[in-house]
Amino acid sequence: MSDTQQNAAGPGPGAADVEELLPEAKSYSANQIVLRRFLRHRGAIVAMVVMAAVIVVSFTSIGIGSIPGWWDKDIATAYDKIGDGGPTWEHPFGQDTIGKDYFALTMRGTQISLYIAFGVGIISTLIGTLIGAIAGYFRGIVDSLLMRLTDVVIIIPLLAIAAVLGRMTEGSLNLLILALGALVWTSLARLVRGEVLSLRERDFVMAARAVGTSPGRIIVRHILPNTVGVITVSATLTIATAILLETGLSFLGFGVQKPDVSLGSLISEYQGAFLTRPWLFWWPGLMILAIALSVNFIGDGLRDAFDPRQTSTKE
């Protein structure tokens, strides 16, 4: 089982970052090391390219708001149907039941879904990290109160409370983002708290405390850098979660409302079309898959790059 031990302790032979085992001739700053590691993660690089392509194409093709893009069809006009409305050169993603250009619709849906996903991801990561770190570091009554607050949110199934809030936002996108962001931070808060609880017992934290470092500085400079792995993995998961949550809400009728379209509302509108007009079913679904997959792979690359313990594994 000798190869197992080698694999478990560090990357096996042939792994992309084997050259790091050698003493480095040139010295790099911490950021450069992170960047170099990230660039070596092939999956993350491919995901970055896909993600960039999705963002650029979706925003330039049909434009943002009143700014026009390079695609000559818009989302509102019903065009003459070509054949049964399947994909053609004129309408690469096909046309919907009344002849609207499905490429434009899908791109619009992608824009909205991306906006929601990243908005929710950023808001929830900030809230979750803050609450988790404070609760874990100060323990005692602060911990109890914050964790009971987390429990109050956690105890209600996410989709249920999101549906209720989604119904209350009545189709306002920004309110929906705020509402979802204020809900999905709970898992991150508990994870960060768990990490902080065990990190604060380590010697380096005690050393920092002994020389009189303030709690805020200990948390930000000494503890949080050690939880970056957990936070990035969780943040990327949250972005994927947010896309899927929005999809689910739109499916149940509590999410993005007409005339706005998101990838989720597109699927739920045409879910019955699987046998008759399969392209209406496949395109938005594949777009969601592409975005969520890319986000997840980027997160994986970030985890490998950021984790400060990563360096200690090299023999």
Binding site: M1, D3, T4, Q5, N7, A8, A9, P11, G12, A15, R148, D151, V152, V153, I154, I155, I156, P157, L158, L159, A160, I161, A163, V164, R167, M168, T186, S187, R190, L191, G194, E195, L197, S198, E201, G229, L237, A240, L244, G248, F251, L252, G253, F254, G264, I267, Q271, F274, F281, G285, I288, L289, I291, A292, L293, N296, F297, R303, R309, T313
Partner: protein, 507 residues
Amino acid sequence: MFTFILRRTLASVVVLLLSSVLMFWLTVHSGDPLADLRGSNADNVQQLMDARSATMNLDLEWYERYWIWLDGVAGCFTGSCDFGVNRSGQDVLFMTGLAAQSTLRLVTAATLIAIVVGVALGILTAIRQYSGFDYGVTFAAFLFFSLPVFWAAVLLKEFGAIRFNDWIAGGQLGPLMIILVAAVAAVALSAILGGSTRRKLVTGGATFAFVVGVLVLFNLLNWYRDPISGPFMALLAACGAAVLVTAIVAGIRNRKALYAALTTAVVGIVAYVVLAYTPLLADPSWPGLFGLFVVAIAVSLLIGRLWGGYNKKQVMLVTGVTGVLTSLVVVADILVGYWASFLGLKSRPISTIGSQTPNFTGDFWERLIDYGTQLILPTALLALVSIATHSRFTRSSMLEVLNQDYVRTARAKGLSEREVVVKHAFRNSLIPITTIVAFDFAALIGGAVITETVFGWQGMGQLFITGLRQVDPAPVMAFFLVTGTAVVVMNLLADLAYASLDPRIRR
């Protein structure tokens, strides 16, 4: 420890109360309960509105209505439960009882599968980091939690139910399918077992030949419509499980554990042969089966204790797990035996709608198969996402632990890889996993709302969505009460596990 549990339980009750206030307030303020009537053209619309206002107590403030609801629920402790009525005046408690049954069945099955498969995959990918297997599972995991649930459900209905039903009518695998299955099995197994390229080729080749042989044999025996079952097959499976459990928990060199596990398996199967002729297994009931299960565990633990020697605890763990697995093997064997007669009763075994076949006439075991076939697709759908989550978290937490100094020490002093992974790494990596598992249970219940809608189950999800659309707090609160209580119990279990795993956190 007792005060710790008591404190957590009390805190949970307070949390549940606060959440219920939040949920009630949100639901009441999420819309207008009379919206559909306001747009109505009926002559007696005023009368209808008055009637509904009276049923739902709309003339009272929201906190007064909450108090009425809370008072009714508090009655559960004195034996007179009252969950209120929905807007048409139906008793919500009765509706909840029916709905909770199917939902909890679904969610529990998905949770158990997800924990076992997810954690196992996570450990395997961690100890085979950067292998082809690792990359494969990682990609699959990412794919699964990137899937929109009902989008996947449409695909699953088409390929898992409709095409499967078409196929089972003939029940023969085509040559292409056989080669495909065997190739997948060969690649997966050789990647998991690892080793040099030569060893991988040998493992893969042997697996491929074996699987092709078995599948061709199955075709010849018409196995998919009329599978062979019986004590001999059960004995094989149980002994296999015994060896596997021993190899993982105690190591195959630990003869005492191995013999104890094999004894458990043999005793279990002998009991099965004897009991098969008594009504306990021939025409069982749920309490009877549960009683048998408890007895089986007790006997297994006793066997472990008798064989145990100097290390009773470990051997008892081995026999206990073997006992559970043997019980499952016995049930599976009985179900396999009934498969042919079940196909006679229901020629298209997996239907896409409902949690059970209406008007299904069969004995206990046939009905159990019916529940099972209806459960498979929604459970698979629910579990896939959780498996992906669990495997990723287990993997990252295992990797972190495997890089710790005490693992290096364990290796340095010459422990076997199994002991390093099972004893030193796995136990410590469990700490973050328990949090995720408990939290995921809540997510699963939420996810069940969509899954139930897609598969047409009359469950809690249906209750909740209808209630929310009609701004009707009673069914929504019933949904919350069932799911919330389940989550509180899960979190409590996680806290206990947390405290027992990490002494630093015990307070």
